[in-house]
């Protein structure tokens, strides 16, 4: 529970941290559905797309409920002295990850993508790497939250890890957008807009993971006095 040898005296905080980690697990499950959804859209699998989209919506709703309950508990309880507002801010950023995953899922399923070139972009290596890095950014955030039970040095190290995955996702996003506009001649403009907006929205998943890691930096600065 704590790093002090032989002493367990942060049960309340420990329980809160476990709840926060559980919330983050739901958030990760939400964004983990995106690659499957993109694959289904690229294959023109309407039933599969709908099923994946609904699953994302359901998980996002669960994440929002968990965040609301946890925020209420933290606001009412007497723990995380001096950093309570920042913990609530962290929860907010974490919830936004699921929220953005939901928005991305909504966008990519707004209309059926039939254009071959557009489907190629969805199947491209850049898209695969982009989505993988979104997930890795969230995993890095999970590891960062776990470091609350280790020490300041580890927390600071893991903050950088989230940033690295966010930057990696950014560069794959750049490649994809370049490819999209390069091949855009002949693609229905609506499809171009749809894919572009999906990429931007999905990128917010990693961005919010990074914002959450920024809040953790504030927590460290305040928490250690």
């Amino acid at each position: 529970m704590v790093s002090l040898p032989g002493l367990v005296f942060s049960r309340k905080e420990g329980a809160m941290l476990q709840a926060l980690q559980a919330d983050l697990r739901i958030v990760r499950e939400t964004e983990q559905e995106i690659p499957g959804l993109v694959a289904a859209v690229a294959e023109g699998d309407a039933a599969g797309s709908l099923s994946r989209r609904n699953r994302i919506f359901e998980l996002e709703s669960k994440a929002a409920d968990a965040k609301r309950d946890l925020s209420t508990q933290i606001a009412e309880g007497a723990f995380f002295g001096g950093i309570r507002e920042d913990i609530i801010n962290l929860l907010d950023k974490i919830e936004k990850i699921a929220d953005k995953a939901k928005d991305a899922a909504r966008l990519i399923t707004l209309a059926e993508i039939t254009d071959v070139k557009a489907r190629d972009i969805l199947r491209s290596e850049d898209m695969t790497q982009f989505l993988a890095n979104l997930d890795l950014a969230v995993v890095a955030l999970q590891r960062l939250i776990e470091a609350f039970e280790i020490d300041r040095k580890t927390i600071l190290k893991r903050v950088h890890s989230v940033e690295e995955y966010e930057e990696a996702a950014d560069s794959f996003k750049q490649n994809m957008l370049a490819a999209l506009f390069e091949k855009s001649r002949g693609i229905d403009p609506i499809t171009v807009i749809l894919v572009r907006d999906f990429v931007f929205c999905a990128d917010d998943v990693a961005d919010n993971a990074e914002y959450a890691s920024d809040v953790v930096l504030v927590l460290v600065a305040k928490g250690y006095g």
Partner: protein
């Protein structure tokens, strides 16, 4: 003086004391988010009772018998009435007021007006202690803060938070203890002298302060020192309280009346100086510090005016 009158006046004064100090006793713990209002009230109540019962007697002769020879009834009456009027008036308008400073000013004024010999040497000792106390608290707090920072640097965030909570609980108890021993001990000693009073009276005064503290713990004064003066992290509160406790305990052992705000403000600045950037409300700081001079003088003058009528 009749014991019932003395108990009534001392009871009112301790009630105002509880009201005015609810900020320091409850406000800071609640403000720093380390304790709930209920936890804070319970801890401080225990501290108040233990402080006045175990060490309050050390303040019995701090005014009558030390500043002057044996105090007469008019001197005691004027001291208590002026202290009530001033502290109540200032508390109502949410100005933090120093009880010990007020009582020393009022007692000296009443003794002066009654032509009782005033021992200048002891007055000088008190004044010097009042000047040194904030600086000494600042130094103790600075060292305590550095020690806490160094000790917790390699701990997990959860451990640091748990340490803050346990530490603030402990210092809240200790602060209530020393504050009660010094200030309620002073009120009790002034009202009943070295001979009168009894344990039930002591407990009645403690209860009066506790009731006020519980009722007014969320009032305007509650935010003054802790929230409006300086922005502090829980470790800062912990260090500032520790420095204050040390100084107030020393004062109590010496029988010197001391204001918690005098020590605590020194402590808060000591904590602030550990940081390169600190948010300090300079205007409010100046107001509080100038009140340490203005209020005893006002109490002195009021007591001089009142004595002929009692």
């Amino acid at each position: 003086m009749d014991e019932t009158v003395a108990l009534l006046l001392a009871g009112i004064l301790t009630f105002v004391f509880g009201w005015n100090n609810s900020s320091i006793l409850i406000g800071n713990e609640r403000g720093s988010g380390t304790l709930s209002g209920r936890e804070s009230t319970i801890l401080c109540s225990i501290g108040i009772i233990l402080g006045v019962v175990l060490e309050g007697s050390k303040m019995r002769g701090s005014l009558g018998g030390t500043i002057s020879g044996q105090a007469t009834d008019p001197v005691i009456l004027a001291t208590l009435v002026v202290s009530i009027v001033l502290t109540l008036g200032l508390t109502v308008v949410a100005i933090p007021v120093s009880f010990s400073n007020t009582m020393v000013g009022a007692f000296t004024g009443a003794a002066f007006a009654s032509s009782i010999e005033i021992r200048a040497g002891y007055i000088t000792t008190i004044l010097v202690f009042w000047m040194v106390a904030p600086l000494a608290t600042m130094a103790v707090t600075f060292l305590a803060y550095r020690a806490i920072e160094r000790a917790t640097a390699s701990w997990s965030l959860l451990s640091v938070d748990a340490f803050n909570r346990a530490g603030v609980s402990l210092v809240s108890l200790a602060l209530a203890y020393v504050l009660s021993a010094n200030n309620i001990g002073l009120i009790y000693g002034t009202a009943f002298g070295t001979a009168g009073g009894s344990l039930p009276f002591v407990l009645a005064l403690a209860a009066s302060a506790i009731v006020a503290m519980a009722i007014f713990g969320r009032g305007n004064v509650a935010g003054t020192v802790g929230d409006r003066l300086l922005s502090l992290r829980p470790q800062g509160v912990l260090a500032a309280f520790s420095g204050t406790i040390v100084m107030m305990w020393i004062a109590t052992q010496l029988g010197i009346p001391i204001s918690v705000s005098q020590c605590l403000i020194g402590g808060m600045f000591g904590a602030a100086f550990t940081k390169k950037i600190a948010v300090i409300n300079r205007r409010l700081s100046l107001e509080v510090v100038s009140s340490w001079v203005v209020i005893p003088l006002a109490a002195f003058i009021l007591a001089v005016v009142l004595v002929p009528f009692v």
